[in-house]
């Protein structure tokens, strides 16, 4: 069975030979190819070489486009600081308040070199791997784009105290989101992974979630030409996952390491694909033995669930993670027997 077929089986609930495994090894490709991170995050070819090295080294099933959301910051005129061992961070937002952003002209913004980099990396990654593997583009939803452009505090200030301006901004980021997501699909991505933060009641008030965030997501998701996986974005999803159920084009959820699959499955329903939940960012702190044991527990927990993909939760797996730790995850998934019949949905 090809990786892509195995991954699609988890989405459709069809029979599979083993679980699909998708680790967030976007950054790790730079380690495998010895590529300086600035080059890695600005040269689509260097990025794709890194992902091919990940494929050749670990043979995972799903590959991600550059996990460098600060490219959006740069495209809107903000400043970013690059580091030697971790992805870049926004050092200066493009706008200090909603007033500037709501008037920003986004026409042709997809031609900005930073967004061209993201789209070109997607196209080349798909050319190299998509025949056999699933390719996922990483982006942000209309409600989570503003923090990358104006800073989280300015966005909080706007969404909490200036609803009219917040709505104007989300109209603009909604158009931008739909355009970019559809370009990712046109470039060969099988799905788009979206961290969702500002529809989480741990972040924003329930009223804003219900009255602003979910309607904006629903309206914009319905315009997409491909499927989405919603990512926990660094906080547990259990408390709000049921509110996401009616969003169009969402095929699954990538849950936090602290979420329980059984709780999420009960709340999300039978049809959605669940991804997770070994913690990626702390994989560098564990031994291969511990990792194998944790993986076995997750796989046992999901035995009999046809809609499950073994993935890392959280952000990118750190650069200093020993390769044997990553190999331990992949081996644990590939070698897991656990009495599963692999028949898929009955």
């Amino acid at each position: 069975m090809k990786s892509l077929e195995r991954t699609m089986a988890a989405v459709t609930g069809g029979p599979y030979d083993r679980r699909s495994v998708g680790l967030t090894l976007s950054l790790y490709g730079a380690r495998l190819t010895g590529c300086p991170l600035y080059d890695f995050y600005t040269d689509a070819d260097r990025y794709v070489q890194g992902q091919i090295a990940v494929k050749n080294t670990f043979d995972t099933d799903i590959f991600y486009t550059p996990f460098v959301l600060t490219a959006i910051t740069e495209a809107f005129g903000g400043e970013v600081k690059y580091f030697k061992t971790s992805p870049p961070n926004m050092s200066k937002p493009a706008f200090k308040s909603g007033a500037g952003l709501s008037k920003f002209d986004i026409s042709n913004i997809e031609r900005h070199p930073r967004l061209v980099y993201l789209l070109e990396a997607t196209r080349r990654l798909a050319d190299a791997l998509a025949a056999d593997n699933a390719v996922a583009a990483v982006f942000l939803s209309p409600i989570d784009l503003p923090p990358l452009i104006m800073g989280i505090d300015a966005w909080l200030e706007t969404i909490l105290f200036n609803e009219t301006e917040a709505k104007k901004i989300m109209e603009m980021t909604g158009d931008f989101f739909v355009n970019m997501a559809n370009l990712f699909f046109a470039s060969g991505a099988h799905f788009v992974a979206l961290p969702v933060v500002f529809c989480n009641p741990a972040i924003i008030t329930r009223r804003i979630v219900d009255e602003m965030a979910l309607p904006v997501l629903s309206a914009n998701f319905s315009k997409l030409k491909g499927p989405l996986v919603l990512h926990h974005g660094g906080a547990p999803m259990t408390s709000f996952i049921s509110s996401l159920a009616s969003l169009p084009n969402v095929i699954g959820y990538a849950i936090d390491q602290t979420d329980k699959f059984s709780d999420v499955r009960n709340l999300a329903g039978e049809g959605k694909t669940l991804l997770g939940n070994i913690d990626g960012p702390t994989l560098n702190k564990k031994t291969p033995e511990l990792i194998r044991a944790q993986c076995a527990n997750i796989l046992k927990d999901r035995a009999g669930d046809p809609h499950f993909i073994f993935s890392s939760s959280g952000a990118d797996i750190p650069l200093d993670t020993p390769p044997e730790n990553i190999a331990a995850v992949v081996e644990a998934v590939k070698n897991f027997a656990g009495g599963e019949d692999h028949a898929g949905k009955r």
């Binding site: 600081k81 580091f83 061992t85 926004m90 909080l156 969404i159 909490l160 008030t205 804003i208």
Partner: protein, 225 residues
Amino acid sequence: MIESVREQLLKTILEAGRVEANAILERWAETNGYDDAVISVLEPVLEKIGVIWESTQNISLAQAYVAGKIAEDFMAKVSEKYSDSSCYSTKKGSVVLGNIEDDYHSLGRKMVGIFLKSAGWEVYDLGNDVPAVDFVDEAVKTGSRFIGVSAMMYTTAMNIKKVRNEIDRRGLTGRIKLIAGGAVFRLRRELVGEVGADATAGNAIVAPALFDKLSRELISAGGSL
């Protein structure tokens, strides 16, 4: 009476009603004075929100942010009304705050600053991406006994060790307390020790209580602020 006002303020803050919350405090202040509005109404409510946040996690970041804004709004009015006579014109002590070198996630730090100022602390906020040397220089310059350093991610949190080393290198161990904060410390408590910090606060709202406790410890050990 006061209990129902506190309940009303709590409910209004949790519904993100900034204007309405300020109006509740104003009404109380008109009858009972601004100091009393702070001591009897605002502070107990903030404390309650901090406890709920820490113990149940049932407070959203937005609700805590609104609480900080209301505290900031109202303390500005208190300062205007009683520039010299209020008990809040006497500072409890001073604190140097900043995000560590390479860290740009400023929201948590800003919220800590707001709550500390509202609780009567002098705050020297150095901003984002602050080198270790600058933290200690500022603490020495301003006579601050506390350095609060924020980091959101594991990679940047490890830079806080440099502040610990700088404090120790200058022979200021015990004289200046290092407090680490940020999302990563909530998720991984063991990091507090790993970076050499003396303490951490579970969230921005309970930060003043932590600094009060640490200052009492310093004073009882024979120090001064």
